[in-house]
Symmetry: C2
Subunit: 140 residues, 2 copies
DNA sequence: CTGTATCCTTCAGGATACTG
DNA sequence: CAGTATCCTGAAGGATACAG
């Protein structure tokens, strides 16, 4: 059984126009690109190559550890390239690969959705919470 | 300071063609729709309304607890509607709202990317791991 | 059947100290 | 500077028992 077969099955399961997905596929997506730091780094590096410490400063709240781990993961998947300049002091730059850029697009779509709709979500939540409050408080 | 302002800022930060994002935006996206179960449920419900137990059986590995929590979250955000039929035994169905469907699309894009490229990723990883193995084992 | 309330485990991820 | 190795905590999430 080649993975071709699986990829194929997966594609077929998506086939239609809507989300006719196999839940397993979604899982693999999220395990891959669904974590906060990966997306943020893909985004930041999309603007251009950056150095380790630079990323450490720029990404809001990332720890040294997570930066290393995430960059390694992205590199392993071929989404990011690591460029080592054997200088003193050592210098390393990271840049997204073309493959990495291809991921940026769907990510951007999702991001835009969130940006477009975060207002709506906020409103919905307020309404929901208010209703819930009344249900408890004001059940006549 | 209205949230309008923030949403606006967010949109502006996305503005361009590529991922010129504010990392904070991505964070909010992922907190919202980036978790495994939310996406899976949005996907499953995209096919049509389903009952609680039905979802429990269909979603692979979800616990009763997580199903409840996730559905509540989706309902709160207005992505899913809860339909209660006051029968005996009680019966509840969940269905995606139009708003929920608008989310399905970018999610689908991401899913398709993953389906299209999971083969590539697998290859990249194998290559990376092999190279790493050699570096350690075979450093002449 | 459709949940809610607890308990308990696991593990992602931060802080920190050390190395090349 | 660019990491790696270790420790430690909080929070996510499963299992389970109970309730409407």
């Amino acid at each position: 059984m080649s993975h071709q077969t699986e990829a194929d099955r997966v594609l077929r399961s998506l086939g239609g126009a809507c989300l006719e997905h196999d839940p397993d596929v979604l899982r693999s997506v999220l395990d891959r690109v669904g974590d906060k730091w990966s997306l943020i780094l893909i985004g930041l590096l999309g603007k251009g190559p950056m150095r380790f410490t630079e990323l450490l400063r720029t990404a809001p709240g990332i720890s040294r550890r997570m930066l290393t781990l995430t960059l390694r993961g992205l590199e392993r998947d071929g989404l990011v390239k690591r460029l080592i300049y054997p200088e003193i002091p050592p210098r390393v730059e990271y840049e997204v690969t073309p493959f990495g850029r291809s991921l940026s697009e769907p990510v951007l779509a999702l991001t835009r959705w969130a940006a477009d709709n975060q207002e709506t979500i906020r409103t919905n939540r307020r309404a929901f919470d208010e209703a819930a409050g009344l249900d408890i408080d004001d059940l006549d």
